[in-house]
């Protein structure tokens, strides 16, 4: 099962022999690697799961992809239980809540399942290792640097986030604020953090309110896919291209329109396929016992090459790399991918 037909950079994979002792004991059956995304019907998540599946199948295992219909921790807990019952070997999770899954994931680990989180982390006690799409500090700082460059070094900026409960975003926003403490940003003022709740209508209202409440607003950072697309739409419709700058994190397919038109000169994201793909290899390494998830472990992740486990607060993580910059030069190529 090795279908290598997407835009993932192409060197051939080298499936590792699955000779290590399997924790579930039934050596005859294929090993099962599961992933749970936040919610169903989310193209970003579909890509992340696709990357995971690709890695798992390259390695010759069976992949199980799950996502609840609502992005809630409660639903993810049920899914974790189902996977424990199925005696999967590894479980990768994109968490809807960093803490609320802890009891369930601890149970999974007690049952011998190798648990990792990717993208949206769970706390250190709930996982062996986290696959970080990009350093939150880098994301936060890069976004500020980006928007400051766009607005020419001074002026008012605002943030349009997802829900007030979104952990990833909250972490990034913290780093953005830290970056702004630097004296070189004395002329840049963060006027407001608004929450569009990842709802189209609410994100639009919030963007409009920002524009009106802060007539001198020069830039918006929207570190969320729905928010940045909604903001792009508002700026387009209001003809504010060039007057108010937009950047953030978004899906190339959703944002292609606005990057091509220049409403959003550039934005960042990582390749969700790669995040999933890397997770698959890290999970495999944990299952085979070649690594335990401690700092300094090294994982050879197929086409991505070798990655090292590094510290992350109390826990450990594997960093995919820097966020990727999408701009007019490369968006056409990427909008078809994800």
């Amino acid at each position: 099962g090795n279908n290598n037909n997407n835009g993932n950079k192409g060197s051939s994979a080298s499936p590792q022999a699955s000779n290590a002792a399997s924790p579930s004991g039934d050596s005859g059956a294929k090993k099962k690697f599961a992933i749970i995304f936040k919610n169903t019907g989310n193209p970003y998540g579909e890509k992340e799961m696709e990357g995971y599946k690709k890695a798992v199948e390259e390695l010759g295992y069976e992949a199980i992809l799950k996502a609840p219909d609502q992005p809630t921790a409660e639903a993810q807990i049920s899914m974790i239980e189902e996977l424990i019952s199925q005696k999967v070997d590894a479980l990768a999770i994109v968490a809807n809540d960093p803490d609320a899954l802890q009891p369930a994931l601890e149970k999974a680990m007690k049952a011998g399942i190798k648990v990792i989180s990717l993208d949206s982390a769970v706390n250190a006690a709930s996982r062996l290792v986290h696959i970080n799409q990009a350093d939150p500090e880098r994301i936060g700082r890069t976004l500020i640097q980006g928007v400051v460059e766009m607005i020419g070094g001074s002026g008012e900026i605002a943030i349009l986030s997802a829900t007030s409960q979104a952990t990833n975003q909250n972490l990034w926003i913290e780093w953005m604020k830290k970056e702004l403490e630097d004296p070189k940003y004395a002329n840049v003022k963060l006027v407001k953090v608004a929450y569009g709740d990842d709802l189209r209508d609410k994100s639009v209202s919030e963007t409009e309110a920002l524009l009106k409440s802060y007539p001198n607003l020069k830039g918006i950072i929207a570190p969320t896919t729905v928010g940045i697309a909604a903001a792009g739409k508002v700026l387009t419709d209001k003809g504010l291209k060039g007057k108010v700058q937009l950047t953030g994190l978004g899906l190339p397919s959703e944002m292609a329109e606005y990057i091509e038109s220049g409403v959003c000169p550039w934005m960042y994201l990582w390749n969700p396929l790669d995040v999933g793909y890397l997770s698959g290899y890290v999970a495999d390494a944990l299952v085979n016992g070649t690594v335990t998830g401690k700092v300094g472990d090294k994982v050879t992740a197929g086409t991505l090459g070798e990655k090292e486990v590094i510290a992350d607060g109390d826990g450990t993580q594997v960093m995919l790399g820097d966020p990727f910059k999408f701009d007019a030069s490369n968006i056409a190529e990427w909008k078809a991918v994800y």
Binding site: I77, S78, E82, S85, A100
Partner: protein
């Protein structure tokens, strides 16, 4: 007038016994077990089935009072928000140094208070109907939870608190035992006590009940208060399962609870249904979800299956009575 009336119920019980809704549910559960066992080798295992109950029983506590509410022809869509508010209050208090047992008691008190407010508004403003009142309080209760915790989550509860949602007494899950106790208590309340009899009377004919000396308003307030209390019980177990809490927990629980009650054969037109039906429905939906989850059926298929099951289950009795009438005519 030498009329002699029978009081021996036995000869009347036999007929209709087989056709009861509860037996249909039992048949469905058996069919579902057979199907799921065939789909997945992991389904029919004691440990798995036992642990699965821990996953779906949290909301089942609200099913119990919701049977009373729907029986009386009302509805309560604020229960999910009551869970969130009582859980957040508990978490927030604990985080501010209130001892956990006290915080838990306050959690129950907050839920009870929310339910009582619902009940009072509903009986004081009859023209509004329960849907409207609980629609408004649903927003308000969760709104308060947001005001209290903002974007924070609180957790780090004492380690024993995890016992509620995750541990066993003997080999049985604690939550299952507690649920069994509450289910029996609510079952007895509905079927054996004057209170339950009066709830049935209100469901069938509120006017006649009132004229017969049933204090309809009082019973409604009590029942909505119970719904608040049981929402808080759910909050305890859910919080324990999640190990932390935040204002957006338990969203959408109300609709799941209502769906279970309706599937359990409790008529929304009032006055029909039994506690056992709703409890069977809890296990039917719970194990069905779990079983389909074991074979990794997609979330969207689950939505379609569960929605369809609800429609079909309420349509069957309707169509049955329709055709029964036609046959008579």
């Amino acid at each position: 007038m030498e009329q002699r009336l029978l009081t021996n119920k036995k000869e009347f019980k036999a007929k209709g016994f087989i056709l009861q809704w509860e037996w249909l549910l039992v048949a469905l559960i058996v069919a579902m077990f057979v199907m799921n066992s065939n789909l997945s080798e992991y389904f029919f295992q004691y440990d798995n089935l036992r642990d699965a109950t821990m996953g779906f029983l949290d909301k089942a506590f609200i099913v119990l009072p919701m049977v009373f509410i729907i029986m009386m022809g009302d509805i309560d869509i604020s229960v999910g928000s009551i869970i969130a508010l009582s859980s957040v209050v508990m978490g927030d208090l604990y985080a501010h140094g209130v001892p956990m047992p006290l915080a838990m008691i306050i959690c129950l008190a907050v839920g009870t208070l929310c339910g009582w407010i619902n009940g009072m508004l509903i009986v004081r403003y009859k023209e509004l109907s329960a849907v409207i009142v609980t629609l408004a309080t649903m927003t308000i209760y969760r709104g308060i939870a947001y005001i209290l915790l903002k974007d924070q989550s609180v957790g780090k509860f004492p380690s024993w608190f995890k016992f509620l949602g995750w541990d066993y007494v003997g080999t049985l899950p604690f939550i299952l035992i507690v649920f069994a106790v509450f289910a029996i208590a609510f079952g007895l309340l509905l079927h054996k006590t004057p209170f339950g009899r009066r709830v049935y009377a209100i469901g069938n004919n509120p006017t006649a009940a009132r004229f017969s000396g049933v204090r309809v308003d009082r019973i409604k307030v009590i029942v909505f208060t119970l719904a608040g209390l049981m929402s808080a019980v759910t909050a305890l177990f859910l919080t324990s399962r999640m190990g932390s809490t935040r204002p957006n927990i338990a969203t959408g629980y109300e609709l799941e609870v209502i769906a279970m009650v309706v599937l359990g054969g409790v008529s929304t037109a009032g006055g029909k249904g039994r506690m056992i039906g709703a409890i069977l429905a809890v296990f039917l939906i719970g194990f069905l979800r779990y079983g389909l989850g074991l074979v990794n059926v997609s979330a969207q298929m689950l939505l379609i299956i569960l929605g369809g099951l609800l429609i079909v289950s309420v349509a069957i009795p309707q169509l049955k009575s329709r055709f029964a009438i036609k046959r008579k005519a």
